[in-house]
């Protein structure tokens, strides 16, 4: 019972954090909302008794990735965080379709064994077991995630280059 209450609280925090992270125009607010999402996720891992993954989630995502994002924002000219520009959203339809497709593929291993067993099988937490699991039922998920990360990397480079402006004359210092 109390686990269920904890789950719903944590899930609400995570979903709200993710929504705010996507919707906020202010970059810094967005980053902190993303960190709230990570914290909620870490709590969910803790609820599943995966305390090591929860600790690593906090260490890597909140500690390292969050600080990296803040660093990146500080190095741009928009330190104040306000970004009033309109977001370009051509092709949102195909984006939505792709997002749904990726989501379904990620859930594939869970869908395959759909009538899920009533009681969870006891598992030995070991790195070897983790490796076998990654290769056997989750191999498609792994590949899709790898592709997604590559796409995100290319997208980031493209976005960082921006639209090539015709070069104006450098003003003297």
């Amino acid at each position: 019972m109390s686990e269920e209450i904890a789950f719903w609280i944590l899930a609400t925090i995570a979903v709200l954090g993710a929504l705010v992270a996507v919707r906020k125009r202010n970059l810094i607010h967005g980053v902190f909302a993303l960190l709230v999402f990570f914290a909620g996720l870490s709590g969910l891992f803790l609820l599943l008794l995966a305390e090591f993954i929860a600790a690593v989630q906090v260490l890597v995502y909140i500690g390292a990735v969050g600080v990296l994002l803040l660093f990146a924002i500080m190095l741009t000219e928009r330190v104040a965080g306000d970004d009033g520009r309109r977001m370009v959203s051509r092709g949102w339809f195909w984006g939505l379709v792709m997002a749904a497709a990726v989501f379904v593929v990620l859930l594939l291993p869970a869908i395959q064994q759909w009538p899920s067993p009533e009681t969870a099988q006891p598992i030995k937490p070991s790195v070897e077991e983790l490796g076998h699991k990654l290769m056997n039922p989750y191999v498609v998920t792994l590949e899709v995630l790898a592709l997604l990360l590559t796409a995100a990397l290319i997208g980031a480079v493209t976005a960082a280059q921006g639209v090539r402006m015709p070069k104006e004359e450098d003003s003297p210092e």
Binding site: S2, F52, A55, G66, V79
Partner: protein, 383 residues
């Protein structure tokens, strides 16, 4: 709902918070007194028992400070981000309070609660580092939300400094984890029972010194207090804070000091180990807190003695000196661990001498190499 569990959790956590908040009040007084003596002043000596002339060496000063902080006006700058301005001091305090539960403090009244103690988690040390890292975000949040250039500068300095010094901090803790083979704080403390402390070996001593220096930088203590360098950027990230929000920052900073000193005691100074434990097991808590206070005293002493570092010196020290030394120290500790498995006196003696020579040689060599990089600074406009 399981109310017994709830009560057990309260019994385990509330005394911890109360004890460390009291110690915080005492430490502020101690620090002001000690700094005053170093600078040939008297320090706080007036506030004692109200309505009498009894001074009690100024021990009432923390209470008076607290009352003053509570009644001060809370000012938020017009351009500030009100929500983040409010959240930052809270975010600074929560991680500091949270990590206290990962210290292996065995109070007499928590004997029956051992199964729910957080320091018995298998990843207690990882959790400690993960949660102390959140402090960086609070500092950045405060600096950014104030909409003040000095605050933002302080926040940026803090982030750069904390990210750099976290690496030697964690790398020096790795040695202890290697030696014990566990991330469980209680097991690490138990492995040092009977004055078998890790600080009493060449690699352990090196790791302890690296850990302590990095801990000073992590908690923004002098000589690494660049984020709040008052001669350059007013008060750094809490320039725009007043009243109780400022007090929360202050409290968070000191609690973080206790927590990181507590981790140093756990990892290197034997935890609650000390004489007289067989007769009275409750002494372990006393020993633990006494060791924390020994480390705090060194921090106060350093603050009264050393001048503040420059930004380039700070970064150079972390990346050019501490990082190579701590990586080499991990190698030395690995060899030493294998040598200890042989269980022969001669090999142990050879290991000790060799590791002492290697570590000392590396430290002085790095010192020589870095000397060339610290040229006298050229001032462009102040000739």
């Amino acid at each position: 709902m399981n109310f017994e569990l709830l009560i057990d959790i309260l019994i385990a956590t509330v005394p911890l918070m109360l004890i460390f908040a009291t110690l915080f009040a005492f430490t502020t007084w101690l620090e002001r007194k000690a700094l005053a003596r170093i600078q040939n002043r008297i320090g706080p000596n007036k506030v004692g028992i109200p309505c009498t002339r009894i001074g009690l060496f100024g021990l009432g000063q923390p209470a008076a400070d607290g009352i003053k902080m509570l009644f001060k006006e809370d000012i938020v700058p017009r351009g500030a981000d009100r929500l983040f301005h409010l959240l930052a001091p809270i975010l600074a305090l929560i991680p500091a309070m949270l990590v206290l539960c990962f210290l292996p403090l065995e109070f007499p009244w928590t004997k029956s609660l051992l199964p729910i103690q957080a320091f018995l988690l298998d990843g207690a040390v990882i959790f400690f580092f993960a949660i102390t890292g959140l402090n960086t975000l609070a500092v950045f949040m405060a600096g950014w939300a104030s909409r003040n250039k000095y605050s933002l500068l302080g926040g940026m300095r803090a982030v750069a400094q904390m990210v750099s010094y976290e690496i030697p901090l964690v790398l020096s803790a790795v040695i202890v984890v290697m030696m014990v083979g566990s991330l469980n704080a209680a097991e690490i403390a138990d492995a040092q029972k009977g004055f078998d402390w890790f600080v009493l070996s060449p690699w352990g001593f090196t790791a302890f010194v690296i850990f302590f220096i990095s801990a000073l930088a992590e908690t923004n203590r002098s000589p690494f207090d660049l984020p709040e360098a008052e001669s350059e950027i007013i008060a750094g990230y809490f320039t725009e804070y007043s009243g109780f929000k400022f007090a929360l920052f202050f409290l968070g900073e000191y609690i973080a000091m206790f927590a990181i000193s507590g981790l140093a005691v756990t990892l290197f100074l034997g935890g609650g180990d000390g004489p007289g434990l067989a007769a009275a097991p409750w002494l372990s808590v006393v020993w633990f807190i006494a060791k924390i206070f020994a480390l705090i005293a060194v921090m106060i002493w350093l603050r009264g003695t050393l001048p503040r570092l420059r930004v380039d010196q700070l970064m150079g020290f972390a990346w050019r000196f501490m990082l190579p030394l701590s990586i080499l120290n991990i190698l030395v500790a690995g060899f030493a661990w294998h040598a200890q498995q042989q269980d022969s006196t001669i090999i142990t003696v050879i290991t000790w001498v060799a590791s002492l020579a290697i570590l000392y040689g590396t430290a002085s060599g790095l010192n020589q190499l870095n000397r060339g990089n610290t040229r006298p600074r050229k001032y462009k406009y102040a000739e």
